[in-house]
């Protein structure tokens, strides 16, 4: 039963948004929000105030694979496609870029003998993840290639108890705390693209912790550290 009094109605909508109404009342409010603009406005006002509470929570980095999964579910292709309206503009832009590229190619061809090839390749890093306090018990190895791609490879087959999971973390700045790089399957390699890792620095900490199934409920590791290691510069081209 939707109350007529606007203030009672507003309170009811607040309860609906907090998930406190039974199924029947919730269905009525939902219908009201779809059909009544002033009710929809009240709902967004509540939500805007609730943002103040959401913002008290620390942000949590999603697993690197999640964005790709969202795109896949929506059938979006890898390269952002142009909307039909912008085709003409884009084709003009493409033409301009092509002309600019040609001009640049000419310039480079002329100047090339005068210039040394600049060092454009990034640095490569290796991290050996060992059991804490053990110097000679490597469990996993990380390689960061010059294009920034990270690969995590197992050297041992960990036995993970039921209801638990391995979670991969890195610590760039202690002030920011560890950042989750997602869950890892025991004995299975993992590849992460450069944009999910960011620039790796020498000495950067990586670790694997034992967490509840589904990962740590917090924005930080909640279980014991199984393996830990620091990035070592493998080569600077």
């Amino acid at each position: 039963m939707i109350p007529q009094d606007p203030e009672e109605r507003r309170a009811l909508i607040g309860e609906y948004l907090l998930g406190l109404l039974d199924e029947q009342d919730a269905a009525e409010v939902q219908q009201l929000l779809e059909s009544d603009e002033s009710a929809a406005r009240m709902a967004l006002e509540w939500e805007r105030h609730f943002l103040d509470l959401s913002d008290q929570l620390p942000a949590q980095a999603p697993s690197p694979a999640l964005w790709a999964r969202i795109r896949q579910s929506l059938g979006l292709h890898d390269a952002p496609r142009a909307s039909p309206l912008s085709n003409w503009w884009n084709s003009l832009l493409t033409w301009r870029l092509t002309a600019a590229a040609l001009a640049m190619a000419l310039l480079v061809a002329v100047l090339m003998p005068l210039l040394r090839t600049p060092d454009i390749a990034g640095e490569r890093y290796t991290v050996v993840l060992q059991e804490p306090g053990e110097a000679a018990k490597p469990g996993w190895v990380i390689q960061v290639s010059s294009d920034g791609t990270l690969s995590l490879d197992p050297l041992v087959a960990d036995q993970v108890p039921d209801g638990r999971a391995l979670q991969f973390w890195t610590l760039i700045d202690p002030a920011d705390g560890p950042r989750s790089l997602g869950l890892v399957e025991a004995g299975q390699p993992l590849r992460l693209p450069a944009e999910q890792i960011g620039a790796v620095q020498a000495g950067q900490l990586f670790e694997l912790t034992l967490e509840p199934a589904g990962g740590s409920p917090y924005n930080r590791p909640s279980g014991p550290v199984l393996y830990i290691g620091r990035a070592v510069l493998a080569s600077a081209n």
Binding site: L17, G19, L51, S54, Q56, P212, P217
Partner: protein, 182 residues
């Protein structure tokens, strides 16, 4: 990481026109905060990420339904996420008990917290209004918000009769809306 001046309304309108770059910008801007809320409510990262996935799928598919004259774009995005999370909670039950130390702390009454709250926004903040509510009215609202608990679960968590809890939440929300609109 998050940009305070991010234009959520224009970004959603661009999403409605099929602009994938806008969609990606929205994800970069808001996914972390949304995931923080989902994990707080669900107590589990994997299911929270599933909800975040479903929320972003829905945001892209329904961006055209957002209308800026009805309210804030960021609020709209959060309402979609919360709806997914509440559905997951109501259909699957609770997954993990999370300690509520955070809820006790969130309404820190210290002068620094108040100063910070004032600095963050000129408008009346929900937290300031919540601080004026006495704890028996405030606590159930925070348990509903941060943990997605039902009336029954709140009543049992606080060892208070169900009818009392329902009345306190209703009265608490009425007092909040008065404070927010004052």
């Amino acid at each position: 990481m998050a940009d305070r001046n991010f234009d959520y309304e224009s970004t959603l309108e661009a999403c409605a026109r099929g602009d994938e770059r806008a969609f990606q910008a929205l994800y970069r801007q808001e996914a972390g905060q949304l995931l923080g809320l989902a994990i707080s409510m669900l107590g589990r990262r994997d299911i929270a990420e599933d909800c975040l996935h479903d929320a972003f799928v829905r945001i892209w598919q329904h961006a055209a339904r957002f209308r800026r004259e009805l309210g804030s774009g960021r609020a709209w995005v959060h309402s979609i996420l919360r709806y997914r999370v509440l559905n997951a909670l109501r259909s699957g039950g609770r997954y993990a008990e999370v300690d509520d130390e955070f809820i006790e702390r969130v309404l820190d009454d210290s002068p620094q917290a108040e100063a910070q709250a004032l600095e963050q926004s000129e408008q009346r903040l929900l937290r300031r209004c919540l601080q004026r509510l006495e704890k028996p009215r405030r606590h159930p609202i925070l348990l509903a918000f941060y943990r997605g608990l039902t009336h029954e679960q709140i009543a049992s968590r606080l060892s208070t009769p169900l009818g009392t809890i329902k009345g306190r939440i209703r009265a608490g929300l009425r007092a909040l809306q008065e404070c927010l609109q004052a």
